[in-house]
Subunit: 203 residues, 2 copies
Amino acid sequence: MMRKKKTRGQLIVLSGPSGVGKSTVISELLSERENLHFSVSFTTRAPRVGEADGVNYNFVSRGEFERMIENQELLEYAQYVGNYYGTSLKVIQDHLAAGTDVLLDIEVQGAAKVRAKCPGAVLIFIIPPSFEELSRRLHGRATDDEDVIAGRLKKAKEEYNEIPNYDYLVVNDKVSSAAAEIIAILTAEDCRTKNRMCLVDDV
Amino acid sequence: MMRKKKTRGQLIVLSGPSGVGKSTVISELLSERENLHFSVSFTTRAPRVGEADGVNYNFVSRGEFERMIENQELLEYAQYVGNYYGTSLKVIQDHLAAGTDVLLDIEVQGAAKVRAKCPGAVLIFIIPPSFEELSRRLHGRATDDEDVIAGRLKKAKEEYNEIPNYDYLVVNDKVSSAAAEIIAILTAEDCRTKNRMCLVDDV
């Protein structure tokens, strides 16, 4: 569907437990939706097998990350399972000003900070069909040690407590359905009266 | 897309000036979206050419309408260009309780009453691409006298003042696009966290 030009883009925050399949859903979103920019986060954690610098994350050293914190170059940052994760402010601002929607993949601490700083942001939480399924997916991935998986599951339980703070909840039972629901959410947000008053004739 | 079973349907109010093409958009919606019931309004106005009783409206006498008001059978009612228009309460309640979304086509006075009585209702306003286009469509329809058209255009200007009270604004430049946007709005509303907490495991 042809979309109307917006004066300003929409900031969208996507959260969900490790293993829920966020990266796959995001790939699908980016291929299906035009005018959507994925903001690649910065992290100090080591790349997993198949992850590329500048694609999944911008992988930086702890020293470099702490320099960015000091220079206030980050919209938000948080520590998660012993590593830093953060979002560059300038890249986001440029895209939003150009009318492009910006998608952030951040965990619940970071999302809370974005919500406080940008009240207009749309927050979406992705859950697996069940918690058992999440455990199966994390074990099936086989890139992490058992104690890392246990840490992720414990963290997931804590993250579930934050779900009521999110605007939307999407179940990733099937990637295409989850992506289609998120696209519907983005379309609906475009249709919000406050974002469209510029289209109303002055009668 | 297969939709998840809801415990309760969503009440959706559609408003827009006479001539904007609401009936055509609604027909498209009903053919594209399952689990959506269109609540046929009651009115005392005369049927237009091509309109059928029980389909476009339930056409009733002034006496019958006033009996319904007295018996509190209406969720809302209003007078518009000299005629009564109203919505039956019971039919709506039954569908919502069965998990079916209910679509109301009502003008701005009635919509304000529904908003006050049902704070969870989703309000959508449809506008034409321009006010000149609305005038063209009303004249092109050729079912009304010139003074009726003038009355509708004057009323449309008043209705435009109520747009900020609506949640969503859809431009009917093309019926299929307008219907697709409304379907996206309904999908997004289904995804609202408050409507989906039942899907979250108790972890």
